[in-house]
Subunit: 244 residues, 5 copies
């Protein structure tokens, strides 16, 4: 669980609600169906148009990834050091038992390949293919969130323009100008909220999560190659500890 993601999100929404209520009139003035429809509905439509069905279906996985914590780098390095000791003492085949305990699929597959005697070059190719696919996936997933960051203010503007155009063209009672303008501006407010409190930070977080993932696979790849070459566990640990 990524504790600061939750704290940041809850705190941010609280700050926006509290400051909105500081005017002394509660939050009623900020609830507007029209603004909600154009910002959330319009922007989501644009996103649906902009991406592949395959990307949309991966949104739940993206959200889970955003709120999952960073990998346990230290545990991975310790495990790799232990595996290295076992391999040096009892041979690569002695790792067979340990393989099934591994949760990370890429780690498991990569280690299995080493045990099976796959060439070091082929294991590298396997990791690089995996990392290239993960990069593409991250890129497509991040683009969804970035679309909200980029387009939500625009749909807020569209909503405010709709309100202003109608208000200005049908001016019967001057007393309604100000309230109508106030309502029209709620769409801009929604757009800014979605873009800057949700879209921007989540897109950043997504890139950060991908960096973590990439970093983890880099460590695993380096470790498995070293185990295969029968490198000294002490040296392996020291070398990998630069990454921590």
């Amino acid at each position: 669980m990524n504790i600061n993601s939750v704290v940041g999100l809850v705190l941010g929404i609280t700050v926006v609600l509290v400051t909105a209520a500081m005017g002394g009139q509660g939050l009623r003035g900020f609830l507007d169906l029209h603004a909600f429809l154009i910002v959330i509905g319009g922007c989501t439509s644009a996103v649906i148009l902009a991406v592949d069905l395959h990307d949309l279906l991966r949104v739940p996985r993206i959200l889970r990834m955003l709120f999952g914590g960073p990998p346990d780098y230290k545990g991975i390095v310790e495990r790799l050091t232990k595996f290295s000791e076992i391999a040096r003492r009892d041979g690569l085949l002695a790792l067979e038992a340990a393989v099934n305990e591994l949760e990370d699929e890429t780690f498991r597959k990569g280690l299995q390949m080493a045990i099976d005697g796959t060439s070091s070059e082929d294991i590298n190719k396997f990791f690089e293919a995996h990392m290239a696919v993960a990069e593409k996936d991250n890129e497509h997933g991040k683009r969804i969130i970035e679309c909200y960051e980029k387009w939500a203010p625009s749909f807020g503007l569209l909503g405010t323009l709709q309100g202003l155009i109608l208000m200005l063209q049908n001016l019967s009672d001057p007393d309604t100008i100000a309230p109508s303008m106030g309502v029209a501006m709620v769409a801009t407010f929604y757009g800014a909220f979605v873009a800057f409190m949700l879209g921007g930070p989540l897109a950043n977080k997504m890139q950060r999560s991908y960096d973590n993932e990439h970093h983890k696979h880099q460590i695993i790849k380096d470790g498995i190659t070293a185990i295969q070459h029968g490198e000294n566990p002490r040296i392996l640990e020291e070398r990998l500890s630069i990454y921590l």
Copy 2:
């Protein structure tokens, strides 16, 4: 057929129309010939000036590509695996019959080259030349759509400025100020709609479609090279399945 492109486009337009009509005065206030002319006409003129005739003539193909679905990666991998089995069993020449069934032109040509005994290096060159040309084509096509995304708001601004300049310079009746401003703002509304509901998402989609195309050719290239080298069908399938 790319179902989510159609859903996103129809939904988005519906949302904008519904929210526009929520003011209770129908859509009349949003219909304006002046705004239409300056945004659509002006922006299209700028695009015509900005690109080559050759690019303009490819617009229908671009639109078809945007609403065509993603490639059937799985089918391609299955087919490549099957071809690999045939080639191992009966030799490359046995694929001659299968070649003509292939719809994808690059697939067909590439496989034919393998059957004809073209060197692996020359086949790679063929695919790379094709992919480089496709990248250029995609870039030029995407630029057309991006121009609408980038310039439509500017032409909306030009239209609104035209309206405001005339309105302010010729102020005979104060009662007409507000409606005139409302009309002038319709151009900004059109510009924002074209840029953010159409231009932005379609440019994104175009890049996505190109990524798919590139991905497909990568798989085919890898597969044909493997078939040529008589790689084991089981290993080929496993290796290609990383891409799925």
Copy 3:
């Protein structure tokens, strides 16, 4: 002659003029010496400051290039195929007569080098040096146009600010506020027109023209190398036709 450049430019200016006149007061309201001076004069001064004299002197050549059509790729490929046939039949020296007919200087020089027996490597170097210089030239030329795209709206803003500052500080007659604001906004209008109807599209076009030029030299380079190696004209034609 690049027909769509001319069509786009004429159409765009027509659209802006027609929509401006749709207010029913002609174009008088859009003619303002002050706005013209600050946008055109200011922006041009900034450009003069920003670039080298050498770049400024190349502006006429840039404009000629923008309105010249794309290269005749097909004619070039046909010519290269013909040259290839002659060289295979009668030797490279038989091309001596054809060289002088070539209009393209780089084509002529490159072919002459091949006839003179210059090594394939040196011919490649010659083309690459030419293409690198052409890229730099294009970059410097495009930067001039991009400056207009980037700065014209800013000088429009400067002009409008000048108008507003004076108008607000010297408010004797309230009736003059609106017309003065209208006049002040003409500068913004000019800036937007120069940036979005001229600067943006022309900068795009320039990049496109450079892409064409680069593409052409790529084809010529490939063709001459193939002729030198005595490649089969049929294969050469097929290989070059991917570029079309």
Copy 4:
């Protein structure tokens, strides 16, 4: 101590306060709890959401780095030259005593590796791993500051929108419009101050500090390699002096 960081920061805040007080009404008009909460609280929440806990914990180190001065390049080059002389005269082992005096950890570790007879290639790998990790760290740290630069104006806008929406929707006394607008604009003011007086310059400074760090390690790496190879101290000094 980075003297110009302190001067720039103090001077900048002074300028903003003095110009604010030039209106003759002191600074009271610029103190607003609502604006402070939404800009500082909202933006900090967004940052917490956007990054990893690990990055947040490194903020004190980042600030220390921003206000620490640039490395003493000259001293490093002199030290490397001296080490080079010792190594040529008395052998690499004679440097053992000098190693412990070195404050810079990477310098110390790298030199120790050279004394221990580690291969030149492995020392290079060690420095490159260190520099790659430092680059990642810098990137993640800079992103925190850049988030303030990028999002603070947006949260200022959110605050101003909150004020305007409430003010416009609840217009009982026309005399309160102007003061309410003035208060609402304080949020925009805060956002602009945080972004442009703090975020922007500090992000720039961070990149500059990283460039210095990178530069220093480059010099140390080059120097240690040269010492290992027994290069002439005179030539080493001259070569390194290009970097000064």
Copy 5:
């Protein structure tokens, strides 16, 4: 002397002053101490915070470079051709006399190295180190100017916000609203002027000057290498003339 830099700068300032005075009230309305302090003082403080002392001390050199003309490429090529003839006829040592006449330090050092019999590879390294350092220097210098381009409008906005906030909160006499707004907008005007008439063009010019410098060193490097290899002066001249 870079004639068009001076012409552009003088012309640009003249255009802004003339258009400001076209309102018929002279330039008094545009002189404002408050706006000057916040834009020039605030932005300069931000720059001082953003860079290293070392970069600030190089500002005079940067300005000199901006107004110095482009290198005399033709003279350099002629000189290299002449040196090449001398070296072919009388040997490299015969260039000893010519070395001291060279004003360009890098040219002198590089040629001296060639005369001293330094290997071609080491001379290349020397030039590349010099060019890498020059690129870094250019980057840091340009960043100072770009900060003015980027932040000056923001400080103009800060100044205008200060004016508006005070004006709106302390509205005793409605007649003072407009003039106060006019004064507040002068800060925006200053910010725009600094950014778009000075910062933008000078940053562009700086990049251009660096490109020239880089180009010059490229020619000198190529020429010295050719002289060392005893290349034919005719061929050298022809090859270098592509760069002109």
